[in-house]
């Protein structure tokens, strides 16, 4: 049987009959993330499972699971097609509630910043901030809003030689809340969420967040306008209308 770590829930088919290793990596409100293998025994992959919620009506539960899996996969496919660095979707099953995607070797930006060598100075952080700004700008330029931009939803693709540094390409992950939108307001709010999350997660680096925005501003036509809109969002918070 599959090696299950700490998960009590049975895995969906076909993983319930698997003899290959499945290691629980993280668990969110909607989904469980396992590290496993896919297509060949030496290809690592990420398996995201959306377990059914027993308190929901079965029909509604199925429909929501299907909608969310497909929405996420479609956004990832669009990103891939348009050259935004995201994990590839390898397989999915909306009836059984799972998605397999490419395994990104590396660390989250959050981990990288927490573990960084403070003696190295700010230039490595600045370079990282530039890459973040560029990644988010590219995402927005194709009309995708991430919906939950945080430093734990960004990975640095690293190999053993770059491990422990702030080097590596940014790969955006977890598009569970992503939407396709072309409104300046949506992009500004996306940036605002990142700014706030970043400030509270990385107070030490908060002063350098401006570098992210600076880099963002140069990525696509309209990025400057989004940054101006961000100033309005800062004044009032994430929710536009206080009515209704």
């Amino acid at each position: 049987m599959a090696t299950e770590t700490t998960s009590q829930r049975p895995l969906p088919a076909p993983f319930n009959n698997s003899t290959d290793s499945l290691t629980l990596i993280t668990q969110g409100a909607e989904a469980l993330l396992y590290k496993t293998t896919f297509l060949t025994p030496t290809t690592p992959a990420a398996l995201k499972i959306r377990p059914s919620k027993p308190w929901r009506h079965p029909t509604l539960d199925k429909r929501l699971t299907r909608q969310r899996i497909l929405a996420e996969a479609r956004v990832l496919a669009k990103c891939k097609r348009d050259g935004v660095s995201v994990p590839a979707v390898l397989a999915l099953d909306w009836e059984n509630g799972w998605t397999v995607s490419e395994w990104i070797e590396g660390v989250t930006v959050k981990e990288a910043l927490r573990k960084r060598n403070l003696e190295e100075g700010d230039s490595a952080v600045q370079s990282l901030m530039q890459r973040i700004g560029h990644a988010v700008g590219t995402l927005h330029s194709i009309g995708v809003i991430h919906g939950d931009l945080t430093s734990s939803n960004m990975m640095l693709r690293q190999d053993p030689t770059t491990h422990g540094t702030l080097d590596g390409d940014i790969v955006l992950i977890d598009f569970g809340l992503a939407t396709q939108a072309t409104q300046e307001e949506d992009r500004a709010v996306d940036l605002y969420v990142l700014e706030r999350a970043f400030g509270s997660t990385h107070p030490r680096e908060e002063a350098l967040f401006g570098v992210v925005l600076e880099a963002y501003g140069g990525v696509y036509k309209g990025a400057r306008a989004t940054l101006r809109r961000l100033e309005d969002v800062r004044m009032r918070g994430r929710k536009k209308s206080m009515l209704g």
Binding site: N17, D20, L39, A73, E95
Partner: protein, 181 residues
């Protein structure tokens, strides 16, 4: 011939063989059309196969759909041909990915069954040279322009050689995974 197991599908071994310079594709195709049960294989035309993962992803989806009783075609072998297609047109998928009378390089896949018997039967009936299915072998056989057209990938920029990058595999697998949604 190679026998392999896809991760998570321990009960469905795959027997896979790539044949070069096949002389009797029309005979093999006729066996499929006539429903000859001795020829329950997925025969794929290697000219539209990007990589080994491309083939294995199709096998995974087909076996998973078999396990969930939702095959769209007659059996798991025809489903492997169908699963390669980015759309749900069955006849078109067979035309594009299956055998045609002038197929030259073909991949034969059998799900389950006795390895020795399958190997013997394939080697006796496919008139071609059996070689290992690798990305390198497929790269020398596939028609990049056709693959681009089928999966609607962007055409290469002017002056660039029409080769398919590693990134295109992700696009193909994504299209296949989302099919039918």
């Amino acid at each position: 011939m190679e026998t392999t197991h896809l991760p998570h599908l321990p009960d469905h071994p795959l027997h896979i063989c790539l044949f070069e310079q096949v002389q009797n594709a029309s005979f093999l195709r006729r066996q499929l059309l006539e429903g000859n049960t001795d020829f329950e294989y997925a025969f794929l035309d290697a000219s539209v196969l990007l990589s080994k993962n491309h083939v294995l992803a199709s096998c995974f989806r087909s076996i998973n759909d078999l396990l969930n009783n939702r095959l769209k075609t007659r059996n798991v072998h025809s489903e492997i041909v169908f699963a390669l297609s980015p759309n749900s047109n069955i006849a078109e998928s067979f035309r594009r990915f299956g055998l045609s009378d002038d197929s030259k390089n073909i991949v034969a896949i059998k799900v389950g069954g006795d390895r020795a018997k399958i190997e013997e039967h394939l080697l006796a009936n496919v008139e071609g040279k059996a070689v290992e299915l690798t990305d390198e072998a497929l790269a020398g056989m596939h028609d990049a322009a056709r693959i681009r057209k089928i999966y609607r990938l962007e055409a290469p920029k002017k002056g660039e050689v029409n080769v398919l990058s590693r990134e295109s595999e992700a696009l193909l697998l994504g299209s296949m995974a989302l099919k039918g949604s």
